[in-house]
Amino acid sequence: MALESGTYIDSLNASNPASTDGLGQADDHIRLIKSAIKATFPNLDGPVTASVANLNNTTAIPSTLTDLGITDGSNGQVLSTDGSGNFSFIALPAGATDTNNYVNGGSFSGTTLTLTRDGLSSISISGFPQAITNNNQLTNGAGYITAASLPAAQSTNAAAVGTYTFALSSVVPSPIPGGTVSGSQLTYSDGSGTNNVGTSPSVGTWRLMAHYVNRASLFVRVS
């Protein structure tokens, strides 16, 4: 007599019982078969209607959300439903643990800017320019300068032929208009005649164009 033992269908031996076994052993085989079937399908309380093709079509099993007809979202988003069977990806709002420490106020004092922050201590940034205290530091709303000094000394390299400048001449006697002096004999002036800037062109030949005794005169570099 051959009666296998086992719990599930795969334990059943199709060769049992042998043809020579006695009929009295048939009930043992029937109980084993029923036990194995119930143990293998414990929750089938209705008809299983899937066809063989359905059961065997393993390639149709969805493996991604795209297989389910849901368009993918962006990195970090989560899947959301509207309760009507529609799905979409959304970004989660910042949670309680998110470090959303935004700036919520600030002040400026002297040369330091102080910013207050939600959830964090204030920070200060120093080194800003001093506040303007004199209107000679300002330009008006029309965009032109209301007061300014005439240009200071031109650098040597800027004094090309054709450059004009207001300067004092150390040549004695003073040249008359049309006369020429060398650059080393001139001192730049701001044009007022008194506020000399103390440097010399130190290059080239300059022709006196207009002269005023003891005041800065107009010179043009001619060579």
Partner: protein
Amino acid sequence: MSTIEITQYRNASSLNAENTQFNVEINHPSYGWIPYTLDPSDTDMTIDNTELLSLIGSDFAPFSQADHDARTAAMVRVQRDSKLTNEVDPVVSNPLRWADLSAQEQADVSAYRLALLDVPQQQGFPHTISWPTPPACL
């Protein structure tokens, strides 16, 4: 502007101990003999300073510290005279304006004038000048 060739020069004199800057007279094709300060750092190439420097070679009066001081002193005096003429003289030489000043203001102007006159007596003259501050009434 094209470069002008200078072929004649005279009276070259060095303006510094390194002999890198010169006062010289050049015979300009348009202006004739004119004074000219030659500095190789001059970026204006109307006159080729390198060529002119080569033309001068070693034919120049050596640098003289005394001459340099005299030139600087002359420049400072020009500035000083300009201040006297334009700031002080219009007040002190005008009896009506002078009379309008208070005794203190007149004293301040007088002191300022004397300080200007004494500029050549300053310790650092002529190379380091401490220009006096004009009084507010000027």
